[in-house]
């Protein structure tokens, strides 16, 4: 067996320069999504076989314009490159640069070169550059930059073979520097001597950035602080001077290597022409509404078909397996607990894949940046940013993919606020609950000639959810403190066709991440909920079962009635039933009795479960074709034994609507917030604040209306 050498290759570069395409070309389907420790950015890695003797782990670093991070997450790039102890510290770094926009791309490239890591520069989008009469002399550029430079086109894989050839040989350290560090900060020499493995530039970078590093040893912090105090080092001045010096060097390089004819830039002209329509005060917003109505329609309505299919496949397979395996608690645990829990995870996949399919297309084409551009001012008045638009709209279908889509929000504060308020948007799981409650409490009459009263109530509930989200965002903007400033500053990329391969890969990747990361928590909670609803203290459940074997009792009912009755009695004697009784004093002021209490607990699995549970409790039977009229009739006749009044009074029903509009009644959302924020802190805050607000609002509603 031949000895294989394993190396790490990092991919880095500006956003929108085709990094994802190159990563996909290099690693194909051998990709994995993991974590960079301590931050919320995903670490995408993939394996690349270079030759018999050399195999590489390719690490995709977040796209950045500069080594100085704009957001905390971008510290990853600095840490990976500067810290030799980092797991992902590369042996070679491949820098992607957009050839049609070389000057700005070279800023980051020269920063990395100055860090002294073996570097290869891949000039991407040569086709766009050539189309716009920008001619780059690659060999001159290679000479000027002192590192290997290849021209390529990641979209069609042109030039990748040259890159692979360079990577399979050894890449040497860069030969030259683009700043005069002695002139910039001569004292850095002293610091670099104190900190092993760092050159002078890296030492100065550390002096600017060390406070943001997550696990940087305390003694080094102290060392740097002392040096900063002694030399009166001013980070901002160093940064500014560095950028100036760099652009001076870059201008010289570009003048020497790039021949740009003073003709019009066709890509930009075309983009400008399209912008004239897409950013138009009237057409722009109409198109925006149209596009998002389409996306919303897809995740709200079209996703329903595969979701129904998944549900029915899981339930038939579950029933089949349940009958196949020997009856008993293990069987129940496996089928009704575990299997049903997995079904509850898989059912989200269509919505997630569809939403991310659309998001990736919109991003690839360049339209997403325009959405932020159009919506920024409006959204900012509420405490959010233009980039919160997509998550908020998606939240009206389902909070799960919506929260996953907050990844694109750069500012941590904007992102957290968006995550915290998205679940207020009326999602599709609330629809069955609202339908039941509205049809129960509101007469179907026509108002103002054309509107149906029930329709108006539904619309009102959707608006209520939306307004709650806006108000919550506004309040959180005042509460959450951060030293990070929200920036808009972003490239508006030229319009291009979407890369379908990239769309497919992203859809699969998002589904996989959801299933593996959030899925575990969802399955665990569903097993707990199943247990609570199926087992009771002592032998109460067995007592119920015994009662239903007594023929003197059972002969009064037919089989369907009997089954419904048994389900109902079992549920009321289960732990969930007992918890319902236990919390009754707390929810009485909201107008809820213990039976509604049970339903609130089971609805934590997913809001729509509320309807099924109510049906079970009132022995209408939740399996098969549930008779909504029968359910409404049973609800109508339900009398509170203590007060002798109707349980589902108008006040109670409205209070329930308000509760469902506001409460955090969704374990999957909690799981996905945990995954996206990488801590239990935010999902717990969200659970308590939303449910607290819901409690208060329902309390006020009920007390006013009763």
């Amino acid at each position: 067996m031949s000895e294989q050498k394993k190396i790490i290759i990092a991919l880095a570069g500006n956003p929108n320069c085709g990094k994802t395409s190159l990563f996909n070309v290099l690693t194909g389907m051998r990709q994995k999504v993991g974590n960079f420790p301590g931050v919320t950015v995903d670490k995408k890695t993939g394996v690349l076989f270079l030759n018999d003797k050399k195999v590489a782990l390719v690490v995709d670093l977040p796209g950045t314009y500069s080594i100085y991070p704009r957001r905390i997450d971008e510290m990853v790039t600095f840490d990976v490159l500067a810290n030799p102890d980092n797991d992902s510290h590369p042996d070679v770094i491949v820098l992607l640069a957009d050839a049609s926009n070389l000057k700005r791309n070279l800023l980051f490239c020269t920063q990395v070169i100055d860090m002294g890591i073996p570097t290869v520069i891949a000039l991407n989008m040569m086709d766009v550059a050539e189309r716009n009469n920008i001619r780059i002399d690659v060999s001159k550029l290679e000479e000027e930059l002192g590192v290997p430079v290849i021209s390529m086109n990641a979209r069609d894989g042109k030039g990748v073979d040259k890159l692979l050839k360079i990577l399979s040989a050894d890449v040497s350290k860069p030969k030259r520097s683009f700043i005069d560090i002695q002139k910039l900060c001569g004292e850095a020499t002293e610091l670099s001597n104190k900190i092993p493995y760092s050159n002078e530039y890296e030492a100065a970078l550390l002096a600017v950035l060390h406070k943001e590093l997550t696990d940087f040893p305390e003694e080094k912090h102290k060392l740097i602080d002392e040096w900063v105090a002694e030399k009166k080092f001013i980070a901002a001045r160093f940064q500014a001077e560095e950028v100036l010096q760099r652009y001076n060097s870059i201008n010289r390089v570009v003048q020497y290597c790039v021949n740009e004819e003073q003709k019009e830039n066709k890509s930009l002209e075309n983009t400008s022409r399209i912008d004239k329509i897409l950013l138009h005060p009237v057409w722009g917003y109409l198109i925006f509404l149209g596009v998002f109505f389409f996306v919303f329609q897809a995740i709200f309505a079209w996703a329903q078909y595969p979701m129904d299919l998944i549900s029915s496949v899981f339930s038939s397979a579950g029933n089949y397996l349940h009958d196949l395996l020997p009856a008993g608690m293990i069987n129940d645990l496996l089928i009704q607990g575990l299997w049903a829990g997995i079904g509850g995870v898989v059912v989200f996949i269509p919505q997630i894949m569809l939403l991310f399919g659309f998001i990736t297309i919109l991003e690839d084409t360049g339209y997403m940046a325009r959405v932020s551009f159009l919506m920024d001012k409006l959204m900012r008045s509420t405490g959010l940013s233009g980039k919160s638009t997509v998550p908020l709209i998606s939240g009206m279908a389902c909070a799960i993919p919506a929260i996953m889509s907050t990844r694109n929000i750069e500012s941590w504060k904007d992102r957290i606020i968006t995550i915290m308020v998205v679940p207020f948007m009326s999602c599709s799981a609330r629809l069955p609950v609202y339908t039941l409650l509205v049809s129960f409490a509101v007469p179907s009459q026509t108002v103002f000639g054309i509107f149906n009263m029930r329709g108006m109530w539904m619309l009102g509930l959707y608006l209520f959810g939306f307004l709650s989200a806006i108000v919550a965002a506004f309040i959180m903007k005042l509460i959450i403190k951060t030293k990070e400033k929200s920036l808009f500053l972003m490239e508006l990329p030229i319009y291009r066709l979407p890369r379908w391969g990239n769309v497919g890969v992203t859809m699969l990747e998002k589904a996989k991440v959801f299933v593996t990361d959030a899925g575990k928590i969802i399955v665990a909670i569903s097993i707990v909920l199943w247990f609570l609803a199926s087992y009771g203290p002592g032998n109460e459940i067995q007592e119920v079962e015994k009662k239903f074997t007594d023929t003197a009792f059972t002969s009064q009912f037919d089989a369907i009635e009997l089954d419904a009755l048994q389900q109902s009695e079992k549920l009321t004697h289960s732990y969930a039933g007992h918890i319902g009784h236990f919390i009754e004093p707390a929810i009485m002021p909201l107008g809820f009795d213990w039976k509604i209490g049970i339903s609130l607990i089971t609805a934590f699995a997913a809001r729509e479960v509320f309807v099924g549970t109510i049906a079970t409790i009132y022995s209408v039977g939740s399996t098969g074709d549930m008779d909504m009229n029968k359910l409404r009739a049973r609800m109508h006749n339900e009398i509170n034994p203590q007060t002798g009044e109707q349980v589902f009074s108008f006040a109670t029903v409205v209070s329930l609507m308000i509760f469902f509009a506001l409460a955090m009644q969704c374990m999957s959302t909690i799981a996905v917030v945990r995954r996206e924020t990488k801590s239990w802190k935010w999902p717990m805050i969200q659970l308590f604040y939303m449910t607290g607000v819901a409690y208060l609002a329902s309390f006020i509603t009920y007390q006013l209306l009763k």
């Binding site: 800023l107 950028v243 930009l268 722009g284 551009f373 159009l374 920024d376 001012k377």
Partner: protein, 82 residues
């Protein structure tokens, strides 16, 4: 030296759609470093390409690309109109 009125440096945020200008300086603020990193260097030419329908943000053409920025970010850039 006498400067004509239209040669006085003004903040980029005051420019109108279609205006062309040259960057003369940047403020001494934290955002300036970010702006410079994005290519907004003294001496660079720019053109205001679009102003969002609600008046903010704006999009400028600089170097070979379009940069979107809020007006309160654009204040940091001082330009002379061409």
């Amino acid at each position: 030296m006498r400067l004509p009125m239209n040669k006085v440096a003004v903040p980029l945020s005051l420019l109108r759609k279609g205006d062309k200008a040259i960057i003369v300086s940047l403020d001494d603020s934290a955002i300036s470093i970010k702006l410079m990193e994005m290519g907004c260097m003294p001496g660079e030419f720019l053109e205001v390409d679009y102003i969002a329908p609600l008046g903010d943000p704006i999009s400028i053409r600089i170097g070979n690309y379009l940069l979107g920025l809020r007006k309160d970010e654009a204040v940091a850039i001082k330009v002379i109109k061409q």
